[in-house]
Symmetry: C2
Subunit: 601 residues, 2 copies
């Protein structure tokens, strides 16, 4: 069933361009900054398991996973650079895990320290989530270094989990709380060849939502996953689950499970996704809200959720190449994921606003009418700091996101300056994407090349004949030495939301290529909602040298000032230029208002 393979890390090198710069920043700044903050907050120290009452930095139930994602990120970097400092750190943590792993294979900082007798009794306490992230890190480190100690430790842990939940059934709950281990077990299976890890993953997926779990949308346990049709509940949980479903469906040739995953993908992206690729509309339960309900000032859009959408879409598009998956992943990557990281690479948003209204947000609590406004300043570490190490690992995966392949064909899902070689089918890609739409691909070997034509792209040029298929790719047979010039037009364009989205009725967003643009209060008169784009006006594309990002200058209007709160409609408009930057670059200067959805005439 799986039509193509996701690349191994050693098959692709990101060589420069937009994402190459982001990877360099990640390796020179972000990975170290996250490490330093995790050291300062005791997260690494916690693996010594010597915390006692009265000491600072009481370990938290998520901390295993924070460090695990950091180790996974480090492994990805080590695989490319051989970085010795990072290697030393990971080895040190692995030694501590070995030292403190229970004889039966169990490892969890908080349960070991605080309530060893209560392990596997509380579904909501993230034990299996932490286990899953440690497994992902172990697999990544094994691929990166060939060292298998961490992998073996995690296999022992997986074996224990199999016993507790399947063979001996002494765990007091039946399926994981926060999903993650499902997809991790598939990785463990792939790395070790041990089929039982795949079976355990499939077990967790199919047991989920069984009758005795009780009805609970928050945890995606309201019904068996194969019967689920609408994305509901905690957003990151949901998307990690769906990713695991895709993995298991592909590995077991399970068309029904794959169809369920695709239905849920469609539910997310056709009904519940912000134009930024941000998902999880509400802070209440960090969850999906109803269909077509996309409030902007109170949007939650956790950075981890946008990442999880990318991870899910990436898997789906390898199984069943379709530009709808790539388009969604691209939308998230360039907008709702990247907005989670400051331009200097040091600080993060956990939640990502889709509109900033400082006047409302900065009121004292007693005057607020929203329960929740996302932060408007990024910070270097959070109490629950899942997002920063999730960003560091995601930035390392851009090469893998870009392609998939099988014996005949190489699919180009994302446009990333890189070199790739899939068993002799090679590509060298040069591009200034997303700042323009030109992509030059130099071919090594003879094969079929499948180039995504993004749904947003209304015209393109290609220097070779190609066949456009329903799946959204241009297919062309290429030969060794061919140079493919692919040029997607990226004019400034105005985008509407489905008329069923009440928040955006009558308004437009501004996009160029894969980038969503926004207006910041520092560059435009307030209130930003008073800006009116002239739909028949000009759009000038410039560069903001300070921020190092493109800047659009659009023709538009504002309404004349009024003294009255209510007055007869005045249809007069005054000329007003609008000045927009990419959404991913918002909130990198002083705190100010921000708007994506504009009035337009």
């Amino acid at each position: 069933m799986q039509k193509s393979n996701i690349p191994m890390r050693n098959q692709v090198d990101v060589t420069g361009g937009f994402w190459g710069q982001k990877q360099q920043l990640n390796r020179s700044v972000t990975i170290h900054s996250v490490y330093d903050r995790f050291v300062e907050t005791g997260r690494f120290e916690a693996f010594k398991l010597n915390w006692e009452e009265g000491m600072p930095n009481r370990p938290h139930i998520f901390w295993d996973s924070d460090v695990a994602k950091w180790m996974e990120s480090a492994a990805y970097i080590i695989e490319k650079t051989g970085d010795e400092d990072l290697t030393k750190i990971v080895d040190g943590v692995v030694d501590l895990i070995e030292e403190h792993q229970w004889d039966d294979g169990y490892f969890n900082i908080c349960y070991t320290l605080f309530e060893p007798e209560d392990r596997f009794t509380a579904r909501m306490n993230h034990e299996l989530y932490c286990a899953g992230h440690l497994m992902e890190a172990a697999v990544a480190y094994y691929y990166a270094t060939g060292k298998d100690k961490f992998l073996r430790l995690m296999c022992r842990y997986a074996d224990l989990i199999e016993k507790a939940f399947v063979t001996e059934r002494w765990a007091e709950f039946s399926t994981p709380g926060h999903e993650e281990i499902e997809l991790a077990l598939v990785k463990l299976w792939k790395a070790t060849g041990e089929e039982r890890y795949l079976k355990l993953s499939k077990h967790f997926i199919d047991a989920r939502g069984a009758e005795d779990e009780g009805w609970n949308e928050y945890t995606q346990s309201h019904k068996p996953v194969r019967e689920q049709t609408e994305a509901v509940g905690h957003c990151v949980r949901a998307l990690y689950l769906y990713s695991g479903m895709a993995d298991v469906a592909a590995a077991t040739n399970d068309a029904e499970l794959l169809a369920a995953a695709e239905r849920l993908f469609d539910s997310v992206t056709n009904q519940k996704m912000y134009i930024t690729g941000g998902v999880g509309q509400t802070c209440v339960g960090e969850a999906f809200a109803p269909e077509y309900d996309l409030p902007d000032t109170s949007s939650y859009c956790e950075t981890c959720a946008a990442i999880a959408l990318v991870l899910f879409a990436w898997r789906m598009s390898a199984i069943k190449p379709d530009r709808k998956f790539d388009d969604a992943a691209e939308r998230a990557l360039f907008n709702g994921v990247l907005s989670g990281l400051s331009l200097d690479g040091k600080s993060f948003f956990y939640a990502n606003a889709n509109e900033v209204d400082l006047a409302g947000k900065n009121q004292p609590m007693e005057s607020r009418h929203h329960p929740y406004y996302p932060d408007t300043r990024r910070v270097e570490v959070f109490g629950c700091s899942c997002c920063p190490p999730n960003v560091t690992r995601t930035l390392e995966l851009l090469g893998e996101f870009a392609y998939s392949y099988n014996d005949d064909t190489v699919w180009v899902h994302q446009f990333v300056e890189s070199t790739a070689d899939f068993d002799g089918k090679g590509l060298t890609v040069e591009t200034a994407y997303p700042n323009d739409g030109k992509v030059r691909l130099t071919v090594k070997g003879d094969f079929t090349l499948a180039l995504r034509l993004p749904a947003w792209c209304e015209s393109y040029r290609l220097n070779k004949p190609a066949v456009f298929k329903d799946d959204g790719y241009l297919y062309l047979d290429v030969q060794d030495g061919d140079v493919i010039e692919y040029d997607m037009a990226t004019p400034v364009r105005f985008t509407q939301a489905n008329p069923l989205v009440r928040q955006h009725a009558g308004r437009v967003a501004v996009e160029k290529g894969p980038l969503v643009f926004c207006a910041e209060g520092l560059d435009n008169p307030l209130p930003l909602r008073g800006l009116i784009i002239d739909l028949n006006g000009k759009a000038e594309v410039t560069t903001d040298e300070t921020l190092g990002v493109p800047r659009l200058i659009l023709d538009g209007f504002v309404r004349p000032a009024s003294e009255k709160l209510y007055a007869p409609l005045n249809r007069e408009r005054l000329p007003q230029k609008l000045s927009l930057i990419p959404y991913y670059a918002y909130a990198n200067r002083e705190e100010c208002d921000m708007l994506i959805w504009f009035n337009a005439e």
Copy 2:
């Protein structure tokens, strides 16, 4: 300083028309329905002060005021109809108050029952608020019947309060919590001639916000009232305070205090008032939110707050006749007050939505992104049931709201079918207002007539020459027997909000005369925000026979349905009629969506 006098109740009779019908409904249905619910919930029984642990209906700290407002309403009706049943009920309650009043004059159900030693120790516990409403009821009953027992009991209570807070100063706080007694003491002064009640009111007003009270916007104690410039905090509290300020300013010729009251009126009506006259944007603290921040689906707009705005504006316009006061009072009366009562007169909204989005509201709590949505079905009684008896008393006051007078002049502030006689200056008013703008006034005596020209009215006819002055009135000298034909044009009109109101940018409201119209989901396709009014289209005025209200049919459009969540802007529009009813009539059929602010092209 006071330019004109508010009528005594015996000077005006509402004789029919729109408000006459509402008064008939109040007298035949509402007053009895509120009474029955208050009996069922133990509110009347509570005055026996025999409640004990284990009995149902534990008295609540607001209950004295609930019954007091009901008694005030009953007194107003008794004054007009001599209703014996109502008289018996009020006399019964007065007897109970007499029986249980303390020797020193104190009366409060909860403190007497539960913690008599703690009276006047907790500023937030509404003792003085309850006292104020009892005083208002006592004054009204005295005017209605000439019986002075209730009035004397309340004078004894006021005397005690003077001792506790001024003379002997043994109360543990210095100014009232929930304001109300300030305006009530002025009524007590007017009814008794006892100057010390006016002084006590002035004391409470001027001591408020003194340094030792601490900073607290919620209770309007953040600074001395004379220095306050922005309406903040709990909305009903604020507007009762401002009403008391207006009363004291007029009674003591205090221009500074009057200026403060006017500044606060302007703050409310120029920056914080919904187009319905609803005020108090947020449920959090039942409070004013920031300027120009008028969210619709989560609007609080307590019915009592709209009533309080009318009571404040009414006082101001007698002191300093200006149509801005009358226009705001009218806006509230016909929209945000009346929406609080069902068309059958039996049930109430406490909070009034400015938009209903059932899909969002009806989600389980875990999927909600607003903390609060107003009710979408009226109920007959609330746990905190301040609004129902406030509606019953307000409906009785329409005659008093309509006029003010002095030796030379009669001002017509509101257009109410009625007869009035102010020391020989008489008017008989006939009108179908607000369903059309024609008002026929027959004059008795010779005087100057001042007719409000509402700010919304762009053209009118008057059968006599008149002078329009800056204050917004048409002044004409009339003579005994004159028949004045005043015809205000009331075409359907489109209204904009100040461009600083971000929620309403680019949208219009539909008004006709003083009525705000809304679309309900039962009559229009969803989502209502997808409706686009054709600004160049026709507006047909019809009657909804079922609801007994006007219905507007407007030309308009909807956008074509879309499968995509995001797509290139499609400027195509499909014709779609919009069907609107007055806002005051919303939510009188099945639960459905509702919208006031429309997209328009």
